[in-house]
């Protein structure tokens, strides 16, 4: 009796492609360095510009969280927005030779996930910097996890990875690197405008804001940082001014869990859609 051999596994193909992606990333040291320096710079800027009032009053904390959310989205988006489009000709060639596109997409997404894990850790270090420089600390306990810093790390990671997946989707959709580069800032601007932080969102604008990663990122960080419990800046001089709690920053474990699920689903959805879009590569002409 012969042992039945499995069909050429997608897993093996994924491993080959994942190794290829790692080699490409590590051989391009300059880009890798920029990818790692950016969250460090963003964390330092957060400490420098917004650290003093972080966890002191509502406005200061909200601003600092907004800087971190913006940095995470920017970081994720720029990690991946070129990654597929610049390899499009290679993908078409390999696809014609029988490549499984899902293995390709999964290999690139996996590497991005690892990169985001590292970058998120660097960005989350901003909270430690604020504590060290100004003595302002996170609340004593997280909503889901014991350690609030770890909870913030998970939120920032999920946000960054969802932004990264958005970049991956765009990279799968467009045919030219230039188009991807042009689109990136616009995506970021839309994300920031509809975050609900810069402008109040009403009616249709509020509906649109539900599709924005920035909104969910702010909800996650705002919940862990107990934004609703922090005093308003004006309350230092006029203590009678009431601080109305916002649903966005509801500090419950259930709310945070819902936000994490939404961010995770967003990431997976973008990767799935990106993979679907990539099938159009077969129709690419010279």
């Amino acid at each position: 009796m012969s042992k039945r051999r499995e069909r050429i596994s997608g897993f093996r193909e994924w491993r080959v492609l994942a190794r290829q992606a790692r080699r490409i990333l590590f051989s391009d040291k300059k880009n890798l360095l920029v990818s790692l320096i950016f969250p460090v710079c963003a964390a330092l800027i957060t400490v420098w510009i917004a650290g003093e009032n972080m966890f002191v009053h509502y406005e200061g904390t909200k601003s600092a969280c907004f800087v971190l959310v913006s940095a995470a989205i920017w970081c994720g988006l720029f990690n991946s927005i070129q990654i597929v489009v610049r390899e499009r000709a290679n993908i078409k060639r390999d696809y014609t030779a029988g490549l499984r596109l899902r293995c390709y997409t999964a290999s690139r997404a996996e590497l991005q996930l690892v990169l985001c894990l590292i970058q998120s850790a660097l960005l989350t270090a901003a909270f430690l910097g604020v504590e060290k420089k100004f003595g302002n600390t996170l609340p004593g306990q997280g909503l889901i996890l014991e350690n609030p810093l770890l909870e913030c790390y998970v939120s920032i990671f999920l946000l960054m990875f969802a932004a990264d997946a958005t970049g991956l989707l765009v990279s799968c959709l467009v045919r030219k690197t230039e188009t991807a580069n042009v689109l990136a800032p616009y995506i970021l601007i839309v994300q920031l405008i509809f975050s609900g932080i810069l402008f109040p969102m009403k009616d249709q604008a509020e509906t649109v804001s539900y599709a924005m990663l920035s909104r969910w990122g702010m909800e996650a960080l705002g919940s862990t940082c107990l934004l609703n419990d922090l005093p308003l800046k004006i309350q230092a001089t006029v203590p009678t001014v009431p601080h109305e709690a916002e649903d966005m920053f509801l500090s419950t474990a259930q709310h945070l869990q819902d936000v994490w699920v939404i961010l995770g689903a967003f990431a997976l959805g973008c990767i799935f859609l990106g993979n679907l879009a990539l099938h159009r590569v077969a129709r690419d002409t010279r």
Partner: protein
């Protein structure tokens, strides 16, 4: 083992016939009309059959203008061509079909899923590459594995695109089942890819790329393609003597949507050409003459809107593209490689993604080494591709397809941006690949300074906005045909009066 040898005569169409449990081959040579029927009394057809369900004048094989046709002869039970019923003759209409290599003809009752034991099975083939027909008896066995590795399989095809253990025939009760063993190139039964396991019926046609097997109920008749070395040696000798035809095209037209999106635009018309085994062929022509369109039609990469036929070793390429695509490599004009990887890494990844899984780490490495040696890249194996010269990058670009041991390579302007020396080096390498390794290589070029390295020239011309074939032959014949000493002058000659030179 009870192995009976049948040898296909060369250079002629051949019928492999399974009739009343016996296999024989009939070479269709020296004549243009062959009658087929049951031998009875004084009537003796050219191809006599023993089967009692075959009619006395069952059909005819006709050759016209180099093409073979099968014509129904008013039989009682009719004939199936590739599983499709095409007779008996009704209403006085003649039923005739074109035959391509690999086509099957069957005489049986109307339900092929319940074949009659008296049925006749015939394979029409013009594949003269290196085919020997053999018989594998399955009596007394319950398992027969088909694959590349001799130690693992009972039926061996020593070809790189065949997996080590490609497919398996297993007897369950009195029936044989065929299953694909996770092969890269896939296994087909009667033109349908085997996904899991299929019950085999007598006279089922099993294919793996260009290898064919016929299940007789008691055994397998199979076309034994000779091993790689023998094929290379054969190609070497054939490339000098004209060789057997790998690719044959008769493209009547190729149309695409016009810019408005409502009308149609014809890109090429009446392109009839062939590419021989082990030959280096240049595809020339001015801008817009349809070189890339022709190449993409020839390699099957762009079949949309193509009217006509492309035959790969006699088999319809478009109809069997999923099965035959593993034999064809397409090298684009731009260097589609990962610049950040080293030469060895790039070729190894390409080999891992393209070659069968069970080739093993050593097999893959051997293939990579072989490719680097063939392309003179061994010294640069650890160099990042972005640090290579233009010519070396082009070689890596070619290596990505060569590492998968493609039989036919189609290259779109591989010399673009190269200096004259690098150009000569590249074309010399390509010629060596064709002559020494038996590859058939079709190359689009503009610069004809090294044209004498090529065995054949195909020249396209643009007439009224449509690409037409202007010439096909050797470089020397091209000079004579266009009345020029330097083939680059042919561009000028054609542009002055393109209609004068177009063929067909």
């Amino acid at each position: 083992m009870d192995t009976v040898l049948f040898t296909t005569p060369k250079r002629e169409a051949t019928l492999v016939i399974l009739d009343q449990g016996k296999v024989r081959t009939v070479a269709l040579k020296d004549r243009e009309r062959w009658t087929l029927g049951r031998a009875a009394g004084t009537i003796t057809p050219d191809i006599p059959l023993q089967s009692t369900i075959a009619s006395r004048q069952h059909g005819e094989f006709l050759c016209h203008d180099g093409r073979w046709y099968y014509k129904e002869g008013g039989s009682v039970n009719g004939t199936f061509h590739n599983g499709r019923f095409m007779g008996p003759e009704t209403g006085g209409k003649t039923r005739m079909t074109i035959l391509n290599s690999g086509d099957t003809l069957r005489i049986d009752y109307k339900d092929l899923t319940r074949p009659d034991e008296r049925g006749v099975w015939m394979l029409f083939t013009t594949d003269l590459g290196a085919v020997t027909w053999r018989y594998r008896d399955l009596k007394g066995q319950s398992l027969c594995r088909i694959g590349r590795e001799e130690g693992q399989c009972e039926l061996v095809f020593p070809l790189p695109y065949v997996s080590a253990c490609h497919a398996e025939l297993r007897k369950k009760g009195n029936q044989w089942h065929l299953s694909d063993q996770g092969s890269t190139a896939g296994t087909w039964v009667n033109g349908i890819r085997v996904i899991s396991s299929v019950l085999l019926r007598e006279k089922d046609h099993i294919s793996i790329c260009d290898c064919h097997m016929i299940f007789t109920g008691q055994g397998l008749i199979y076309s034994a393609r000779t091993d790689q070395r023998t094929r290379q040696e054969k190609s070497q000798s054939q490339s000098r003597s004209g060789g057997d035809v790998v690719l044959e095209a008769n493209i009547q037209s190729k149309v695409v949507k016009d810019q408005s999106g409502h009308g149609q635009k014809e890109l090429i018309r009446n392109v009839k050409l062939s590419v021989g085994s082990g030959q280096l062929v240049a595809l020339l022509g001015g801008s817009g003459a349809g070189k890339t369109t022709v190449m993409n039609a020839l390699n099957g990469m762009d079949q949309l809107g193509v009217k006509g036929q492309v035959l790969y070793r006699g088999e319809d390429l478009y109809r069997n593209f999923e099965r035959l695509k593993y034999l064809i490599g397409s090298v684009p004009q731009e260097n589609v490689v990962h610049d950040m990887l080293t030469v060895e890494e790039e070729l190894r990844d390409a080999a891992l993604l393209r070659l069968p899984k069970d080739m093993g780490s050593r097999g893959i490495q051997r293939q990579v080494e072989d490719t680097m040696a063939a392309l003179n890249l061994t010294q640069k194996r650890k160099t990042q591709i972005r640090k290579l010269s233009g010519g070396e990058r082009k070689r890596v670009n070619i290596g990505v397809e060569l590492v998968a041991d493609r039989e036919l390579l189609c290259l779109d302007e591989p010399d673009a941006g190269l200096d004259p020396l690098a150009k000569k080096d590249l074309f010399t390498t390509l010629r060596d690949l064709a002559h020494d390794r038996g590859k058939s290589i079709l190359v689009i070029i503009h610069d004809v300074s090294e044209i004498d390295l090529f065995d054949q020239v195909i020249m396209m011309a643009k007439v009224d906005g449509v690409g037409r074939l202007a010439f096909e032959g050797s470089p020397a014949a091209a000079r004579t045909y266009f009345g020029v000493e330097d083939l680059s002058e042919a561009y000028v000659v054609i542009s002055k009066d393109p209609k004068r030179y177009v063929r067909g």
